[in-house]
Assembly symmetry: C2
Homo-oligomer: 217 residues x 2
DNA sequence: CGCTACAAGATTGTCAACAATATGACCAGC
DNA sequence: GCTGGTCATATTGTTGACAATCTTGTAGCG
């Protein structure tokens, strides 16, 4: 009876299953294209099938899960071409966010940016790609949030969720963090200088380089 | 009792309810912030509550419906600020699409563009804002599809769905179609000239003008 | 008169059983 | 040996009932 106790009683079964599943997918615990059988998930999470089903539907609309009628759900595999498309969209949207962040960011957020830049430099000189990848993620998130553009933030979070696997692969590539770092520092500089145009250009340059790296797979 | 053509049950039931509901919302048949009670909708559409529920969840993820735990669903009202944010995102994404369309469009699509341009000019000289608004929509859709950027297309369709009310209001504004027309013609010219840079610039200029118009509400 | 507590009604969330459908193995016929 | 059909099984889709939760109206109390 592997029924796990659900934590907060206020937490609804569907939300619990959703969080649990999403984390499992994002952490790569599910093999690519792995089959997600409702009954199995229901039992292992200690919720009913209906809850798992609802969670799977949500994840489908988030683009993390692929679902075929009467055939079941699988974790969606993002091909390189799709990853490129997604990154092109990120280029457009993060460019917008960076420009807005340059004018809208609070001084505290600028300080945070500076700190992140230093941490990233350190991670690179330490040769720690995992930490660097996480800081990278944090940096992009900070810029998004500083923009105050809620709509773009929502879209970007969805897009980013689909890229976990590729991002991870990219970070481990030798030499990649070094190039990425200088591009990131340029973005930080532009925002700190409160120059929207330069910030947008810098972000686009960075993501353009990401696209090149993706294509080199 | 209103016997519908395709009621009852089956997978079609959910799709039927979804289409029906979406149309009702997009056509403005639901008052802003109107309450959407699952039971009522189920009865009036002749489907089960589960189907309505599934449809409502879908519409929620599309951003057309707002849903609060244990409190029900309501049609989401998009404030002017949100409409501006959405249009800013459209500016970024449609700019991308226009640039790609300039290089990727087939000759047949270019001809379609030309035709749409003529039809739009006619609608304006005829003083027919409703037709113009529809053609406007068609034009943006054509550009999206010609870009071949599936990811951006998906995002844009979702964003556009949320703007129906504002778009309608905008089209009826005196003088607005005239200004909009010239901007649209510029976009068409740039794409036909296969000039990505000019196409992106023209789209951004157009949507920037839309934002101004929205703010003047 | 205003405020809190409580109960009734309405509405959504969850569940377990049932139906529909696709998958894969097996077998007959050529 | 291969093709085509048939059936058993696994899995998803659907349904109606039940539980949890919120809202509203009302009465009691200060």
């Amino acid at each position: 009876m592997p029924k796990e106790a659900r934590p907060g009683s206020g937490e609804q079964a569907k939300q619990y299953a959703l969080e649990r599943l999403r984390k499992a997918i994002l952490r790569g615990e599910m093999a690519p294209a792995q089959r997600l059988v409702e009954n199995e998930l229901a039992e292992s999470y200690g919720v009913t099938r209906a809850s798992v089903r609802a969670a799977l539907l949500d994840l489908t609309s988030e683009g993390l899960v692929e679902r075929i009628r009467n055939r079941g759900s699988r974790v969606r595999v993002v091909t390189v071409e799709e990853a490129v498309e997604i990154t092109e969209c990120r280029m457009a949207l993060e460019g917008l966010c960076a420009a807005k962040a340059a004018t809208e960011a609070t001084d505290a957020q600028l300080d945070e940016l500076t700190g992140l830049g230093k941490a990233m430099s350190k991670a690179v000189t330490d040769g720690d790609p995992v930490t660097y990848s996480e800081l990278n993620h944090d940096l992009h998130a900070l810029i998004r949030n500083a923009s105050g553009q809620h709509t773009a933030v929502g879209l970007l979070e969805r897009l980013n969720a689909q890229l976990v696997r590729h991002r991870f692969q990219l970070a481990l590539r030798p030499g990649r963090p070094q190039q990425s770092l200088s591009e990131h520092l340029a973005v930080i500089e532009a925002i700190r200088a409160r120059d929207p145009q330069a910030a947008e250009t810098a972000v686009r340059a960075h993501l353009s380089s990401v696209i090149d790296a993706l294509r080199a797979d």
